[in-house]
């Protein structure tokens, strides 16, 4: 589909309106994959959408990069398997941290120990899944899986300092934001738009960032939070 558009693309003469299209064609001729080049342009858009989720909707999650990183990881694992795997490791990490709470050693050393235990528990799971020929998730890519484990540990550690209510909320928000990032990065429609009009997408991303960056109104969730004050 994308390739078809790509090969049929008429570029015209190089100018301010089509220089990115030239760059993409040049990149492909250099041996880069088309998906990779498109992803490079979609990544800033995904970040813009995550910041939109924060400043307009009020989904705080875990900063800006964590959800996008997870979104990238989901690209190779698939959204649902990725989410399930992430939740699983996350709960496992919480459990291990909780079990080791009485162990009085330095914080970072402790977290390293937590990671070791989590990996040791995950290993039999991997082998077990292999028996059922469900190796797709783990063969897809090693690094995304590692990203999910590490992000999960980061999230788990922060959760333990919060009250359970806030902890659950932060996790849910992170999941929503990462799904949002995944959706931007994997959307075929958006990929096609980027391929056809990369310059316009860049300008729109800049406009989005600046607009969101200047927004001082209430966030959507704040309308709920302050509903009683608003009614007064």
């Amino acid at each position: 589909m994308l390739e078809e558009i790509f090969f049929n693309q008429q570029l015209g003469s190089l100018g301010i309106t089509n220089f990115l299209r030239y760059a993409i064609h040049w990149g492909v001729s250099q041996g880069y994959s088309l998906e990779f080049l498109l992803l490079l342009l979609l990544l800033p858009l995904a970040l813009g959408v995550v910041s939109l989720g924060r400043y307009l909707i009020g989904l705080q999650g875990l900063g800006l990069f964590t959800p996008v990183m997870m979104g990238v990881a989901f690209l190779s694992t698939g959204l649902v398997p990725g989410l399930i795997f992430f939740l699983l490791t996350f709960l496992l990490e919480i459990l291990v941290i909780f079990l080791l709470r009485r162990l009085k050693i330095h914080f970072m050393a402790k977290m390293a120990l937590v990671l070791l235990l989590v990996c040791l528990i995950l290993l039999p799971l991997l082998l077990f899944l292999g028996r059922f020929n469900y190796t797709a998730l783990f063969n897809s890519a090693l690094i995304p899986i590692l990203i999910l484990i590490l992000v999960g540990e980061n999230l788990a550690e922060i959760q333990l300092r919060k009250t359970p209510r806030r902890a659950v909320r932060a996790v849910l928000e992170t999941l929503v934001l990462s799904s949002l990032a995944f959706w931007v990065l994997s959307s075929l429609v958006l990929q096609r738009i980027v391929l056809l009009y990369p310059e316009a997408v860049v300008i729109l991303t800049i406009a989005l960032d600046i607009w969101v960056g200047q927004f001082v109104g209430l966030r959507l969730l704040e309308y709920h939070r302050f509903r009683k004050v608003l009614k007064k």
């Binding site: 200047q214 209430l218 704040e222 004050v229 608003l230």
Partner: protein, 427 residues
């Protein structure tokens, strides 16, 4: 959603109001030790420091067994009450204490916790930190029945030297004696004029009673309220590089109000606790010329008082008044001047004639809250806003009034809607 523009959201707080906090001020507020040093320099009361640990050696060589029955071990750069260890009382053996939640700790545990603090476990971005031990505040009797262990504190938000909102924070079992709302403490709104509590929020829910008890949240009068507000404004004077800040004040049984810490990014839940939108109040106060501490406190009281008086009056029964009423204005020297005033529901604020106000001594600088330049068809004129107390149909009304030239108008004073709550007007 009429109030959408009046409620302060995170976006507006961060971009519009936190922008008035300079880097230097944030540096002070983010370090509790530095804050204490500056407060002491300005002769503002703050709980005593019993020990400071800048390196592991200090922790190992410190004579822990000499510590009193109760104390608090804190990270200097901690936030949201994280990493605070509150020691409640001595246990059976020397060198053992009970924590707030009843856990037993030994010197070894305390040392370990202090080392964790140093390694940055509780500081922003896990950067290196300093640990210190602070004396525990003795709780005032009046609060004892409202908290599950721990000491409540009063958060006052000050902007441009004017207190704009206050909240009493009550530790709960969930918050383990800490008074941070994020840890599960109760936030209780406080009327700025009287120091009487109004509404309560716990974990984002509105509550009327302390959970598990039949104790009402509203109606508690916080002692030494004036001193608390004064202290809050003086704290901002001590750190002028913070334009918008939260000041946490504790009330010690013997020594009265003391400043616990400053907060350069005070949270927004205070709006729910007070059921009052903050942005409107901030905009009201922005740019006012506040002469001194006392002036700032007076502006706050006059502008943001809850209408308790009127609520009490409403309970007494609605009073009926006509469109012309004989009011008694309280002059500066205390005597009462009777004049006929027009009851004007078309005006929001009460307005009084300039000459009359001058005659009554109400235009003294001490009594003027602020002055504004008005542009009208008659050109520019300067109109002061003053504090005014008057009696209307037997009720005492304390309010703010605009001053204008009313010499060629029929009545020297009009009473606006703001002061007519609890009245029925029969023209």
């Amino acid at each position: 959603m009429i109030n959408a523009g009046k409620v302060l959201g995170l976006n507006a707080r961060n971009r519009l109001f936190l922008a008035t906090n300079k880097k230097e001020g944030r540096r002070i507020a983010d370090s509790k030790l530095l804050t204490k040093r500056i407060l002491r320099k300005n002769h503002l009361p703050t709980p005593k420091i019993l020990a400071v640990f800048k390196n592991p050696q200090a922790i190992m060589t410190f004579p822990w067994e000499t510590l009193p029955d109760n104390f608090v071990l804190k990270p200097s750069k901690g936030f949201g009450g994280q990493g605070v260890m509150m020691v409640k009382k001595k246990a059976k053996w020397a060198g053992e204490w009970y924590l707030m939640d009843g856990r037993l700790v030994t010197i070894k545990d305390l040392r370990f916790h202090a080392l964790e603090i140093l390694s940055g476990r509780f500081s922003l971005h896990n950067s290196m930190d300093v640990a210190f031990i602070e004396e525990r505040i003795k709780i005032q009797k009046i609060f004892a029945k409202y908290v599950w262990h721990g000491v409540p504190d009063i958060r006052v938000i000050v902007f441009n030297k004017v207190p704009v909102a206050a909240m009493l924070r009550l530790p709960t079992k969930e918050s383990l004696g800490k008074s941070n709302l994020h840890q599960g403490a109760i936030g209780v709104g406080v009327d700025l004029a009287t120091g009487i509590t109004t509404h309560g929020v716990l974990n984002g829910r509105f509550i009327k009673y302390i959970p598990g008890t039949k104790r009402k949240i509203n109606g508690l009068k916080i002692p030494e309220w004036n001193k608390i507000l004064t202290l809050a404004v003086r704290a901002q004077e001590a750190v002028p590089s913070l334009g918008y800040l939260g000041i946490d004040i504790v009330l010690d049984k013997n020594r009265g109000p003391m400043i616990l810490e400053l907060n350069a990014r005070p949270g927004l839940e205070i709006q729910n606790a007070n059921l009052a939108p903050l942005k409107k109040r901030l905009e009201r106060v922005e740019g006012l010329e506040v002469k001194d501490v006392e002036h700032g406190v007076r502006i706050a009281k006059a502008l943001f008082m809850e209408r308790f008086a009127n609520r009490v009056m409403a309970e007494e029964g609605i009073k009926t008044i006509g469109s012309l009423e004989l009011v008694k204005i309280v002059a500066a020297d205390g005597h009462k001047e009777e004049i006929w005033a027009k009851i004007d529901t078309g005006a929001w604020r009460t307005s009084i004639d300039e000459t009359l106000a001058k005659k009554l001594g109400l235009l003294e600088e001490k009594n003027i809250l602020w002055t504004k330049t008005w542009k009208s068809s008659l050109g520019k004129e300067v109109r002061p806003t003053i504090e005014l107390t008057f009696y209307l149909a037997g009720r005492k009304i304390k309010t703010v009034a605009g001053v204008a030239n009313r010499q060629n108008l029929r009545r020297l004073m009009i009473v606006g809607r703001r002061d007519l709550e609890g009245f029925l007007i029969k023209p």
